[in-house]
Symmetry: C2
Subunit: 191 residues, 2 copies
DNA sequence: ATGAGCCTATTTACCAGTAGGTAAGTGACT
DNA sequence: AGTCACTTACCTACTGGTAAATAGGCTCAT
């Protein structure tokens, strides 16, 4: 069957990603993926021996895609205010088909996650905060953004606000709710 | 054996509450509670026939306790800035023994929750936002708090920021992280 | 005061369904 | 001949849930 394996692995990850984002890591099973993909459970174990392996790869891929998106922002936008708007827009897009940020979802389930997933998860948040911190510092220097205290703290606060806003908006199936709050947060930063 | 049933039900709720706050609704089972309480699973079903009943009561009790705490704040504190500080302090306390806000946790799992729990959950957030909105409006009138846009929006933003900040801080097992972000958010509001 | 009947809380003993996971085999391409 | 992708056929542990039995305390007519 040639090397459709790369393709299959990706499709497994696609389905698993959607399941985690909508139902959480403890809210889906291999059987759910098998059904959606029209294969047997055993076939999934060929690609990802244990659920923890699948979970780990899920975070790795998500972070990698996310960082690419941030690089595209850096490559196409100069104004720090616009960068923040683009950043928030990514979250807004995720929410549109009623998904939660993969890593925000996993953060809630942190207490039940296998250790490799925990570490990968922290790495995702660290990378996000580092990017935000730099944008915030650049914006402050250029006097286009304003905020109190250290940029690192502002970055953590912004990330927390977006993740939390997303989570609550999802309970109301109301992306507008998230949009309003994210725009307010950006406006208060000067964007 | 008298009516120790009220006592037993409360103890079941206490243990289940801790389990949901640390592991999530899909991350614990009746067997976990039975073990912690040294009774059989069947005994739990006597008090809460289905897991959904237990979940629903859990939210009801949590909200009721929370609203009582808010009433105590209203009864003892006058300055809106102090009210917000007390409000944030509640979240900080919850986080101390590595717990997530019960309802923030359930919001993440929203997609898998039975309908009665979903409705109860939204009610909790509505009540929180209503209280915050009033405090913010009072503070703005008294010129002790300042924020842009409608108070309702500021309330939603504040709630989202605290829930999200809590969730991420838990991934680092670092309450100080939450403290820093919540103090920053309050300071930016003038508190 | 006492025993019959009732209520409450709990246990024992189940059940069907699902969880994650494995071993051995099959068929196709290289 | 070997490897890759996959299936068939299992396994054990655990899930939420139920029916029936048991034990103690309460009430009330005799």
């Amino acid at each position: 069957m040639a090397t459709a394996t790369a393709g299959t692995s990706q499709r497994i990850l696609d389905i698993a990603e959607r399941l985690v984002q909508t139902r959480g890591y403890n809210g889906f099973s291999y059987a759910d993926i098998a059904e959606a993909l029209h294969v047997t459970k055993a076939s999934l174990h060929y690609h990802f021996p244990a659920k923890a392996d699948l979970g780990r790869r899920l975070i790795e891929r998500y972070e990698s895609n996310f960082l690419e998106a941030l690089e595209r922002i850096d490559a196409t936008v100069r104004d720090p205010r616009d960068k923040l708007r683009r950043y928030a827009a990514i979250y807004g897009e995720v929410l549109k088909d009623n998904r939660m940020c993969l890593c925000g979802m996993l953060a809630a389930e942190f207490g039940t996650l296998p250790k490799p997933m925990r570490e990968e998860l922290r790495h995702y948040f660290d990378a996000n905060e580092a990017w935000l911190q730099k944008v915030l510092e650049d914006g402050r220097k250029a006097k286009s953004l304003k905020f109190t205290g250290p940029a690192a703290e502002a970055a953590q606060t912004l990330l927390g606000a977006l993740e939390g806003g997303m989570m609550i908006a999802r309970s109301y199936a109301d992306p507008a709710r998230f949009k309003a709050m994210s725009e307010k947060v950006l406006k208060d930063l000067g964007a």
